[in-house]
Symmetry: C2
Subunit: 384 residues, 2 copies
């Protein structure tokens, strides 16, 4: 994997860059649609290409449990399996173990948990997380991290130092057991909760391990938006400038712009598709809840500036509302695609704002980027 | 509306034709995907165009109840509402009144029934059916027919003659109240159940009313496949040769080929999409139930001869099976699109078989067209 910085912002820590992987490249700052189980919910790979997505995220945790990483490998790896020949990043499962498992027990060896599929008992260690991700074959893979809820890492919490220290020990084991370092870039994950002293210790220690990229983890796990902003600002500025910085599981448009200004290069979030399935459409001025009666006769499209199939095809808000009321699957599909296009258009405009140092015109074109939206996004993809 | 016969089969009653409407034309024999509530379930209009669909069916009954034909009209009519600028046919609701209504009472004035949406009481008369379809603005609209279950029109059934006679009286009232005859072609519907004497009376009387096209109704409502074949053969041959003949709600591939040979030009059926949603994929050799464990490691595509996104994209049967087991919406989407493409490819090959009188090579390329498949299809689109 290769990362080149093409332009640095004059007034902020933001930068425009290019990541090259064995399956092609993508420009940064980049937003990755989430394809948890090797599918972005309801959206075909043709539609993903058309909205401008260049890299997808999938979850090793989900794929290990179903259909099994061995099967994916046998069928040619994740790219062939899901029919996406561009870059893919897999998350390790550290986050999912906490957000999904009905029961989990953690010790230094790893995590023991029950499968959300059938309740069977599974074990995930750093070595196992690498084995799974080596089998899946994504271009970027994530170290197994210990990612506890915010309340457990707060200043009075019981696991204040544990998560950071364990994440660091596991990172070394991940690196040592990674079998395909020439094809798959391993990213380390900074932990430390909302405690900036712990964050400093974590970012210094994690980034001291020579790796192709680093991520900020343990955010959007229950803390306030202000706390997220503080942690991201603090952490991003302490990560190596020459490597891609990836903020995991964030977020709304205002969260993205704030993080980009802090120097973050990569994002993933389920918001565009999850909101799309729930009849929530993103527009530059804010979100529309399409079930609302005020859209009953609304003849306009979701966003006149959007070129997604629904907006370019002239589909009215009233029609999309009708699809949701009639429980037509096409509603979730069309609004998910629209929302994904919204995010990709935002990323293009963010890249332009960096190049032209035109942050005020960005905020003018995208009023939704100004105000913090709450609650923030998480990558958690709870089963249906 | 204009219908031109381009080629007549030498050995059968089949013909290749072309229908021109105010929204463009389509070749016959034609298969119409079913977009009951102004949406083909899970499939975008871009995908419909790409699979080769040139005319869609929607249900006036459903649209009257939700979102209301007045709203659709206010938003520019059905074409604008659903973003499809090609030909559309709307069914009148005669069939749905019987298949969907929790309670319905029929008399000569029309049908009183309860809405499947909210249980409210509605009344549908021939005049009302025209008013609704005039508002929706489809290119082809259907007369309101009295379409009872097969058991009620069997030789010993209580409504042996009623349905036929009432359908005929209603047809005259439909024609008299049709407000847009220059833009919307009204088709009459032949009834008569499985009784060929009644069918003869119905086809003669209905086709004696000068209309741009005629349909065979009251089939696939519970009778045997043999009975359907007998009725279709008998009826089609007695319909005017110069007008399009439309067989409503049928069916499997073998049903289509048999009906085409009998002289039928147009078809609609929910099978491609309903089966697609239920993990049933059509192939020339027969249907695959993708949940079956034998597809767990199946690396092949659904149909190597298919050019749908799933097959052309190399997506394995194992991947599609995974999507259904993981309850991923993308499974129903991809298999619905595949099945629709399967039907459109079949129609193209049927047209070729007519032109070249090559029925045996059609049967060779599409073994599934040889055997009657049961149970047969109906247009019933039960909620949700």
């Amino acid at each position: 994997m290769n990362f080149t910085i093409l332009h640095e912002s004059r007034s902020t820590n933001a930068r425009v860059g290019r990541v090259e992987t064995p399956h092609g490249g993508f420009d940064t700052p980049a937003f990755m649609p989430v394809g948890t189980s090797a599918a972005v919910k309801g959206v075909t790979v043709e539609q993903l290409r058309a909205v401008g997505a260049r890299i997808l995220l999938a979850n090793a945790y989900h794929l290990m449990l179903r259909p099994g990483h061995e099967l994916v490998e046998q069928l040619g790896g994740l790219h062939a399996f899901m029919g996406w020949d561009g870059p893919i990043l897999t998350d390790s499962g550290g986050y999912q173990v906490y957000s999904l498992a009905r029961m989990s027990r953690i010790d230094d060896d790893g995590v023991t948990f029950r499968s959300f599929v059938d309740g069977s008992t599974w074990h995930l260690s750093p070595e196992r997380a690498m084995e799974v991700q080596n089998a899946l074959g994504a271009d970027i893979i994530m170290a197994l991290d210990d990612c506890p809820p915010a309340r457990e890492t707060a200043e009075t919490g019981p696991r204040r130092r544990d998560a950071h220290e364990r994440t660091l020990r596991w990172l070394e084991r991940c690196r040592a057991s990674h079998r395909r370092p020439d094809e798959q870039a391993l990213f380390g994950i900074v932990q430390g909760g909302t405690d900036l002293l712990l964050r400093r210790a974590s970012v210094e220690a994690v980034c001291n391990v020579e790796l192709p990229g680093y991520a900020i983890g343990g955010v959007a796990v229950g803390e306030s938006i202000e706390a997220i902003r503080r942690v991201v600002d603090f952490t991003a500025s302490r990560m190596p400038a020459g490597k891609p910085r990836y903020l995991m599981g964030v977020g709304y448009e205002s969260d993205l712009v704030a993080a980009v200004r802090a120097g973050v290069d990569m994002f993933d979030c389920v918001l565009p598709t999850r909101n799309g399935r729930n009849a929530n459409a993103f527009t530059p001025a804010g979100r529309l809840h399409l079930r609302n009666a005020r859209f009953r006769e609304a003849a306009g499209v979701l966003d006149p500036g959007c070129d997604c199939p629904a907006c370019a095809g002239g589909l009215s808000r009233a029609y999309l509302r009708h699809l949701f009321l009639a429980r037509e699957m096409l509603g979730p599909v069309l609004v998910s695609v629209h929302n994904l296009r919204h995010y990709q258009r935002l990323m293009l405009d963010i890249q332009r704002a960096i190049r032209e140092d035109s942050w005020s015109s960005l905020a003018e074109a995208w009023p939704a980027t100004r105000e913090p939206a709450s609650p923030s996004c998480t990558t958690s993809t709870r089963q249906p």
